[in-house]
């Protein structure tokens, strides 16, 4: 279908975009890559009165390492991450996940921050943001706040972002060589949203024991979820195959799965166990 009518604004600066957001509030929406918003409008599920297109704001087109954080501006597109944007586990994890996001011609437009703002339950970037502890820099006219990933995801397609706010930047920790990151997802056709995914990050101490562990699951509930018990079960010992298997089994039990006709709850739990195990094993295989 064709999109419903709207007023179009193409600000050239962040300040101008924030002023437009303040003016249009609930009626206005940011247009970033458009790869989720435009289909939603074509289905007439969204009818924003105004679109504020940020694509001409050069200051948002950034992706840089600073003080051990990777700072990802609102116009950094998915395709940018297909090759590591920083050396080490963080860049490698992003590159590994990027190729699972939609299709190549969608990745040329869709943005990292757009994914976080849209908050699809099966978004790869959202799952990574929760796993690694992303921090969102949110601006509105005359104000700025930082929101940790743990407070960001509130429900399906719902985040802490207010109607007059811009997600200007998301940052991720740049993990050192003592970290092992893993990623695995399952979908029925290439490019589809995943039925389940797991992102894992383990820090190994000099003795080869797990000193820190993070496991996040995506596509299985309304928001990405942390598998806290599973991660804690790995601490203080070497990551042996048996322990990884046991952690994966714990991950499969520790959440309330979304259920639908194609994916009953027990199938989803089984997928979570398999994806968590694959992500953990894959992260240590290299």
């Amino acid at each position: 279908m064709k999109c419903p009518p709207f007023d179009y604004h193409a600000p050239r600066s962040q300040a101008e975009a924030l002023a437009l957001l303040a003016r249009h509030g609930e009626e206005g929406k940011i247009l970033a890559g458009g790869q989720s918003l435009v289909p939603t409008m074509a289905f007439r599920l969204a009818r924003p009165a105004s679109l504020i297109d940020i694509n001409r704001i050069a200051e948002l087109d950034t992706c840089r390492a600073e003080a051990n954080r990777l700072r990802i501006g609102a116009l950094a597109r998915h395709a940018r991450f297909e090759r590591p944007v920083v050396p080490g586990p963080t860049g490698a994890l992003l590159a590994r996940a990027a190729e699972h996001i939609a299709h190549a011609p969608i990745r040329t437009r869709g943005t990292f921050c757009g994914s976080l703002a849209h908050a699809d339950p099966a978004s790869e970037w959202c799952c990574i943001a929760l796993a690694l502890g992303a921090e969102m820099r949110v601006l509105r006219e005359g104000g700025e706040r930082l929101v940790p990933a743990a407070d960001w995801f509130q429900a399906v397609f719902t985040t802490a972002l207010g109607p007059d706010e811009l997600l200007a930047e998301a940052s991720l920790p740049i993990l050192g060589p003592d970290w092992r990151c893993g990623f695995a997802e399952f979908n029925r056709r290439a490019g589809d949203f995943a039925l389940a995914m797991a992102v894992t990050a383990l820090r190994l101490d000099v003795a080869g024991h797990v000193a820190e562990a993070r496991i996040a699951l995506g596509g299985v509930a309304g928001t990405p979820v942390l598998a806290r018990e599973a991660a804690a079960s790995l601490l203080g010992a070497p990551p042996t195959p048996d322990r990884l298997r046991a952690a994966a089994a714990l991950a499969a039990e520790g959440f309330e799965p979304t259920e639908d006709a194609q994916v009953p709850a027990d199938y989803r739990r089984d997928l979570v166990r398999a994806m968590t195990r694959r992500a953990l094993e894959g992260s240590l295989a290299a």
């Binding site: 790869q35 289909p39 299709h103 190549a104 040329t108």
Partner: protein
């Protein structure tokens, strides 16, 4: 709804058209520029029939508003053949390898493959399959499309042998 004048450069030629903001790039190309080679299947990003190159990048023209492309350069299937109508190596490979049946998906696949072959570095079987999995075809069963693009890549010196996934 009021219309805004925009300028598009399509296949190297300037087009000045007036569009409502909600007009997609695909609709503007077809209905305002008269270039109906770009097809629309799903109009929500799934099928890839509308694939065009925007400033050299493959995009879904149904998920991009024409007004956003003001001042930008677009390439469509109409720009592939030589002015005398002779087919380029990619188009010829589709013809010779039965890479199309009804032809509805063909402009999208041609632009997708054009983009892939213009990216730096060689293409191998895994890359070929990964990129071409972006678009849908209801007729060919894909094998002849893969063969056509592989043949063109070989002819253009862009092919690298690698393991063929099962």
């Amino acid at each position: 709804m009021s219309k805004t004048p925009i300028r598009l450069t399509v296949n190297g030629l300037p087009h000045e058209v007036a569009v409502e903001p909600r007009r997609t790039l695909a609709d503007a190309l077809r209905d305002d520029c008269g270039l109906t080679g770009t097809h629309l299947g799903c109009e929500h990003g799934v099928c890839g029939a509308c694939t065009v190159l925007l400033d050299g990048e493959a995009v879904r023209a149904c998920l991009h508003f024409a007004i956003q492309a003001d001042g930008h350069a677009i390439r469509t299937v109409e720009g592939l053949a030589a002015p005398d109508g002779s087919l380029n190596p990619l188009q010829r490979a589709f013809w010779e390898n039965h890479g199309l049946q009804c032809g509805f998906c063909t402009p999208g696949f041609l632009m997708l493959a054009t983009w892939m072959l213009e990216q730096p570095g060689p293409v191998d079987e895994a890359r070929l399959r990964h990129v071409l999995s972006s678009n849908l075809c209801r007729c060919t069963g894909y094998q002849n499309i893969l063969t056509a693009v592989r043949t063109a890549a070989q002819e253009l010196g862009k092919w690298r042998e690698g393991a063929t996934p099962a």
